[in-house]
Symmetry: C2
Subunit: 225 residues, 2 copies
């Protein structure tokens, strides 16, 4: 499903992951609104991005950005997930929200510590309520690589209980230059969320500049289920 006419809000766009996603989307010709808790900081980020890319970039405080968008990508640290989702909950009913939260609990970020809901994605659905078309994605991509123009060897697993919503997220992922793959129900997000701690451990153990994952095996390009 193409998102070429969609307006996409990137919530937390002043963070590393959000800035990188916003930049890739803008470069791909997507209409982006960058959101931040503080409208002024969002404006600054948008101005810098517009200046770099030569494209128009809108900006607003998180809730206003989410209200103006068709698709909302939430890119905040785990510690800020609840507050941020609560901030936008009133304006995203019926919309596709792509949550990127990984439940890292510093200082033990190399240990898998899933929340009691089973995953940050399921926790997000509980916070936002059942009317939101929630999808999770982008857990395993190294943000510092996403911030560049380099081709990244990393698949993006996309989770959600609604197939059509996952299709939209996969299109968003492909606009960022990555392969998105259906990973199944929202609860399956636990796999990718947990894997991030494993990748951080691998980065340290093998002195890597940013390990990622690829799904191997022959995949039929036209998914059937």
């Amino acid at each position: 499903m193409s998102t070429s006419n969609h307006v996409i809000a990137v919530i937390g766009a002043t963070g590393q992951l959000g800035a990188a996603i916003a930049r890739r989307l803008v470069l791909a010709g997507t209409k982006v609104i960058v959101g931040s808790r503080d409208a002024g900081r969002a404006q600054e980020a948008a101005k810098a991005l517009a200046s770099e890319t030569g494209k128009e970039v809108a900006a607003d405080a998180n809730a206003a950005a989410a209200a103006a968008a068709d698709v909302v990508i939430v890119t905040v640290p785990y510690a800020a997930q609840r507050a941020t989702l609560t901030e936008i909950a009133g304006v995203v009913s019926g919309k596709i929200v792509i949550d990127t939260t990984v439940p890292l609990m510093p200082p033990k970020v190399m240990r898998v510590q899933l929340p009691e809901e089973g995953s940050a994605a399921v926790a997000a659905q509980k916070i936002l309520g059942p009317s939101v078309r929630l999808v999770s994605a982008f857990h395993n991509v190294p943000a510092h690589k996403l911030a560049t123009d380099e081709k990244i060897a990393c698949d993006v697993l996309v989770f959600g209980d609604e197939r059509a919503a996952r299709d939209v997220a996969i299109d968003v992922v492909s606009r960022c230059g990555l392969r998105g793959l259906h990973g199944g129900a929202l609860c399956n997000s636990a796999a990718a969320e947990a894997l991030t701690s494993v990748l951080i451990f691998i980065n340290k153990t093998y002195s890597s500049d940013g390990a990622g994952i690829e799904i191997t095996g022959t995949l039929n390009e036209r998914p059937t289920a």
Copy 2:
């Protein structure tokens, strides 16, 4: 760490995964004891494997096989994990046990359903007690591919709280023709265990003959941590 002089017991070697691991280890010149609940079935499996490979293959009932081995690989379905581990618990104190259990709960095998301990590996450690050097591995390799001689594009993530035990498991993995990678603490096993349900979903959705995972990014071959 080389396991070339180790005797390796494969518990559950009459199952698809166990049979495949035993076969690859025997072909690599490893001393293998195949174990089954029933000593007679173990003997039959060993005889068939010896006949195919032209190598000696020992066999015994699970507990006796585990007692005679230096390293014990447990390859049983989740539903049989507790009973099997209980069966060998008395003879594996101080030994390295490589648990391969994935907590699949039929019929919903495409949904991540981690046990209350967080992972099947942590549950295994609780059953076996702290004296066992527990490692988990082999969660994501398609067993039907492992049963062949084909080169499999799948990394094996190895989890465990003891680095030296993980090193042994990684050597066992390499004897099976696969790249083993340190994945961190035993609790991190949740990531690979959960990923198996995602891979089953991907197999169905993309009509794949057996998806796997590869860790991407430049990894230093001599791990430092």
